[in-house]
């Protein structure tokens, strides 16, 4: 007869100890290939897609790609990961998406002091100008021109609305270089079109639920709202969900930044009308390429490598040249 006594309690404790340590069995076996460390910003399909591109280059060039993902978008969380990578002592190259353009400067200096060449992908430190700006030690900044991306979104939305209408922005939190710039670019693009009016910008803290609530409130407040721009994955999903729940799919045009499976799905359904896709796989691929180039003595790496955009609509989404830019959520 089973009785929950202290023997079972201690057994459970021992089992839990083994469970905690079991993942160490999954630890990778470092091979003789060069070790490239990639530290994402947070767990989301954008960085998973970037990892795929990086892995593709790594396989082609004989690189051992070591990937770590912080639990939250926070400098206090990303820094110990970087320091742990340094402590390994066997990293030859590092590329990462720094989560704070001010606070990550000191931790990344340690990387360079340890003799490891590094570059940043997607986001930057300082002002992103590693040639003439306040921070110049990273090798390169590989990422979209987010101001341009915002402008593209504004122009595409203006075109879809016939040049006239009220628009609203769902953003993440101020302080993230990329989304700040998309907001800036969008505002610039809207200013170019005299018939367009921006009614507001909200920050959802990377919380899809919060973004949905904010969007729903704006939909109530502004019955004439014609377009919404979601500046990143979660923001776009939140806005699209709110539009769908309000039954306004198709009436309010949603422009989504970042082509997640969800965004593509909503495009298909008609809740989202335009998807501005970055090319994270391209960023990851370039990063590994540049790393290998540098390690082989080809050190004249451009300080800025802008990656492009694909504008996805319902009309072109079945074209394989376009669909290859969709972000996939699963890592291989």
């Amino acid at each position: 007869m089973f009785r929950w006594n202290r023997v079972w309690q201690w057994t459970l404790i021992v089992v839990l100890v083994l469970v905690v340590l079991a993942p160490t069995a999954l630890a990778e076996d470092p091979a003789k290939k060069p070790n490239f460390a990639f530290i994402a910003g947070v767990n989301d399909p954008f960085y998973i897609t970037m990892q795929r591109g990086a892995q593709q280059a790594a396989d082609l060039m004989g690189v051992n790609l070591i990937v770590q993902i912080p639990e939250t978008w926070n400098a206090t969380v990303q820094t110990p990961i970087i320091d742990a990578m340094l402590s390994r002592g066997d990293i030859d190259f590092m590329f990462l998406a720094p989560v704070d353009k001010e606070a990550m400067i000191e931790p990344l200096k340690r990387v360079v002091d340890a003799g490891i060449p590094m570059l940043t992908v997607d986001t930057f430190i300082g002002d992103g100008d590693y040639a003439n700006g306040p921070v110049t030690f990273p090798l390169s900044y590989i990422g979209s021109d987010n101001v341009e991306g915002g402008m593209i979104a504004a122009r595409a939305l203006a075109e879809a609305l016939g040049g006239k209408g009220k628009v609203y922005v769902q953003n993440v939190k101020p302080g993230i270089s990329t989304t700040d710039q998309r907001e800036e670019g969008f505002k610039k693009g809207i200013a170019e079109a005299p018939g367009m009016e921006l009614v507001g910008v909200d920050y959802n803290d990377d919380d899809a639920g919060k973004g949905q609530a904010q969007t729903a409130a704006v939909l109530q407040r502004e019955p004439e709202l014609a377009g919404i721009f979601g500046t990143n994955v979660f923001s776009a999903q939140a806005a699209a969900n709110a539009v769908k729940n309000a039954g306004l799919s198709g009436k309010v045009k949603v422009v989504a930044f970042d082509a997640t499976e969800f965004a593509i799905q909503m495009l298909k359904e008609g809740t989202v009308d335009l998807v501005i896709a970055q090319k994270p796989a391209e960023m990851g691929f370039f990063a590994v390429e540049m790393g290998m180039a540098y390690l082989h003595g080809y050190v004249d790496i451009p300080k800025r490598i802008p990656t492009g955009y694909a504008v996805i609509t319902r009309d072109n989404m079945d074209d394989p040249e376009i669909s290859k830019w969709f972000y996939t959520g699963q890592s291989d």
């Binding site: 404790i13 742990a84 001010e102 002091d113």
Partner: protein, 361 residues
């Protein structure tokens, strides 16, 4: 007169097996930490080095400092959920003040002093308010500090505009990141600066200010809790509020002092963060909030109050820090890491229950 002896009442005949179990329960956290260090040292290259251990300590510094404040409050039977954003608020306040004074051209030492003082003064206020709400208005600590969390977060974001505050005087990042001693092969030992011309890769720095502040804070906290009246009354309050009242302890005043201490330590954590990251960020402590409570609980404190030790919190904080670093060094897939701390907390609760069962014998 009949004497009261205990033999008829308490069967204290303990078998050697029970005594072993009892001893293990008391030191299980240490054993677990030792085991983690051993496992990682063997399986992760680079783990068992001075540099690696020091980095673990440095990255744990803010968490431990905040957790020490939390220890006081939890021993007395309360909890402070606002620590993470008090830390962020103070980091922002100090950074904003220092940026303004720095840009105005004041001498660096003065700028630093004013920034630190401003940070501590601002950090005192949430502690005072928490104390008033909980002691005078009898608000449940969970609710009161949850409310303060929101208020601190609001002010932190307002002051900083949501952005990280930079442009600090050089002295800030130097204090936060320079080592006191530099050791390099074939070079004499230098202080505060690496040996000129040495290859930075082979230079080992020993002891930084954040690390020193963490160590001193732990020692002082231990001393206060274990050897002063203040510490004794803290344990008494957690053990029995009634007994403390009847013994003449000013329970309300003591409660207020505890929440002020907790907020001040969170503020110290914020200042250390500002030095290490050369900037002020409202979200600096967001991730530390739950970790500070976890460290205290893993270290053996009871959330009902009355139990807990500084050494326990230290071990708890280091178990988490060692786990985070070791799992990354082994390149364990990130999703597995997310649950690691949760599992440890469950273990801590189970061990605590098992030990309580033995102690009741």
């Amino acid at each position: 007169m009949a004497a009261i002896t205990e033999t008829q009442d308490m069967s204290t005949a303990t078998t050697s097996r029970q005594m072993l179990l009892r001893m293990v329960s008391r030191v299980w956290a240490w054993l677990f930490l030792g085991m983690l260090v051993a496992v990682f040292s063997v399986s992760a290259p680079g783990f068992f080095t001075v540099r690696s251990f020091q980095n673990i300590g440095i990255n744990a510094s803010e968490t431990l400092i905040v957790a020490l404040g939390q220890t006081f409050v939890i021993i007395a039977g309360g909890i402070d959920l606002s620590v993470g954003f008090v830390m962020g608020l103070v980091s922002v306040v100090a950074a904003v003040v220092m940026r303004a004074l720095n840009l105005a051209g004041y001498p660096q030492g003065l700028v630093l002093l004013v920034g630190v003082v401003a940070g501590l003064i601002i950090g005192f206020i949430p502690g005072l308010i928490n104390g008033l709400l909980i002691a005078r208005l009898k608000a449940p600590p969970f609710i009161a500090t949850l409310g303060m969390l929101g208020i601190a977060k609001c002010f932190a974001f307002l002051l900083s505009g949501g952005q990280t505050v930079g442009r600090q005087p050089d002295i800030v990042r130097l204090l936060g990141n320079s080592y006191f001693i530099y050791v390099a092969p074939n070079e004499p030992v230098t202080f505060f600066n690496p040996p000129p011309g040495a290859d930075l890769r082979s230079v080992l720095g020993v002891m930084t200010l954040p690390l020193l502040i963490m160590i001193i804070t732990a020692i002082v906290s231990h001393f206060v809790l274990a050897h002063t009246r203040f510490g004794q009354h803290t344990y008494a309050l957690g053990g029995s509020r009634d007994a403390s009242l009847r013994a003449g302890i000013d329970v309300d005043l003591h409660t207020m002092k505890l929440y002020i201490v907790c907020a001040l330590l969170a503020s110290l954590g914020g200042l250390v963060w500002t030095m290490r990251f050369n900037s002020g960020s409202p979200i600096a402590g967001e991730a530390l909030m739950l970790n500070s409570v976890a460290a205290v609980v893993i270290g053996g404190a009871s959330l009902f109050g009355g139990e807990g030790k500084v050494m326990g919190t230290v071990v708890g904080a280091f178990i988490m820090a060692v786990l985070y670093t070791g799992l990354v060094m082994l390149n364990v897939p990130p999703f597995w890491q997310f649950g690691a701390v949760g599992v440890i907390i469950i273990m801590a609760v189970l061990v605590d229950q098992a030990q309580a069962g033995i102690a009741r014998r």
